[in-house]
Symmetry: C2
Subunit: 306 residues, 2 copies
């Protein structure tokens, strides 16, 4: 079924202990749509890029069968550029520069043909814009949003208004603590649920992710990789794998949400093995299913009683 | 089969945000044997306490069918006393006092009837003492040790000698990084395996535990509790549940080691819900299996391909 993705497209400069790449394709909507494209063909992208956005990357998005009719190309401004540098352990990063460029005035308008989207995935943008998108969609089956400390602390009222309209929020552990004012993550999830979303996913980086619904808590590990190359986009890739699986299966049961978390984790683990988007640019089903099978081995145990 | 446990017995004073208890039963051997007692009846304890050790706690250990003929009671000295205070988030703790007392001169001698022990679990004591115990046992089937930064940094050569003699080491993530000089935990486990143990368990506190064998990596979550009351002894309780299950089943396959990790995690999650040893003093099989079943729900997912 149809999946609408709204978020940033960027050209990133990334420095990790393993090297540096300049003006490489990035942005939340890029990672989300690319990851989701391995699960469903009906993906609609809404975003903005500048006049410098490479033609080959437009072709790349098309090659993933992503509908880019909602992609605005600014004639006056450059593409959003983010320059980040990771610490030796890849756990902390410093932003060197953020040039919003065309993204500064991003004002997502949903075209008539996108208004009937079944599933909606809103990358980490201003909560007011997220709300504006949501109000343009006819009865979607599931709305997921991402957010960050910048909005939690900077625009708390607008974020809380948006939260009343969404089904699912994906945030990391420090953001969950910040938003809920609870240190314990189970308590944090409960508090956030009271704000609106009935499904909460808390990402814990190298420690995996927790899924909370009314009746379920599910814990998925991150894949224990010996070499993480570049964590950029891991969270968005997770969201894309998750929403791709949900759009493909159209099943919102707790059991299928768990499976979506595993597919999200599978895609994220493949993403961080290479620079930027390279880890998920050109995958086949066999590679994805091999990693999925590794997740089974990593987590499953026999049930034998004492 | 028989499980030999060597470690400390203590009277702890513990302060958490939820209260304070003074001179309550603690020590690694106490938590290990108590946790293991729910899986097997053939447990042998070697340790030392002082003349002030309460008679009722001797009776408690006996009530768990633990063979305490190897428990020395000093006539001249008091019992090891540790006083610790936890921070508001329970993730960091400060040691207020450590009175080693009788434990200072602990010199474990293994009696003739304990020398044939099948499984050996050595709590966090001087690696030289651990080695001395190992040399007294006839062909055990599995030797597990715990250790800590104090020995990793303070007696590295003796620890490395001991590591060549053991099958399994249980350490936490910061200790694994310290011992291996590797930040990545997969790399750390590989390095530690080269030092001797063929099985490595890395505990990650609220993030669970990782099991590494030659052919397997297994990730077990910690149980997502809303209220952790007192983390004291969680690691030892994990070790006790693990070794209790191994002693009961006598199966060292990767699949059974995974199950042992889950039973260890099950016991640890019950331990931290109450003060000190109270969480595991008086359990029944039903309570343990209910928590075990929660671990299944927490981790299992259906296998459906893309």
């Amino acid at each position: 079924m149809s999946l609408l993705v709204v978020g940033s497209l960027a050209l990133d400069t990334i420095e990790t202990p393993f090297g540096k790449e300049e003006y490489t394709l990035g942005g939340s909507a890029t990672f989300i749509t690319t990851a989701a494209s391995y699960f469903t063909d009906n993906i609609r992208l809404v975003g903005v890029v500048g006049y410098d956005f490479p033609k080959k990357e437009i072709d790349f998005l098309r090659s993933k069968k992503i509908d880019i009719s909602g992609l605005e190309i600014s004639k006056d401004e450059k593409t959003f550029h983010w320059h980040g540098k990771y610490d030796f352990d890849l756990n902390t990063r410093e932003t060197i520069t953020t040039d919003l460029n065309a993204f500064e005035h991003f004002n997502p308008v949903i075209s008539e043909k996108f208004k009937n989207s079944d599933y909606v995935c809103l990358g980490n943008i201003h909560p007011g814009l997220q709300k504006k998108v949501i109000e343009q969609i006819d009865k979607p089956k599931l709305i997921m949003i991402d957010t960050m400390n910048f909005w939690i602390d900077g625009t708390p009222d607008e974020l809380k208004e948006t939260l009343t309209l969404v089904d699912l929020i994906v945030i990391n552990d420090s953001e969950a603590r910040d938003l809920s004012k609870e240190f314990n993550l189970v308590s944090a999830a409960k508090k956030i649920m009271e704000l609106g979303p009935r499904i909460i996913i808390i990402k814990k980086g190298e420690h995996g992710a927790l899924l909370f619904t009314e009746n379920t808590i599910f814990s998925a590990p991150a894949f224990p990789l010996e070499q993480v190359f570049d964590p950029t986009g891991a969270g968005d890739t997770f969201a894309g794998g998750f929403m791709g699986w949900i759009s493909k299966t159209e099943n919102l049961s707790d059991d299928n949400l768990k499976l979506a978390v595993i597919y999200g984790s599978t895609m994220a683990s493949l993403a961080v093995e290479k620079f930027s988007l390279d880890g998920i640019r050109d995958l086949d089903k066999k590679t994805i299913m091999n990693r999925f099978d590794e997740f089974i081995k990593l987590t499953h145990f026999e049930t034998v009683s004492i």
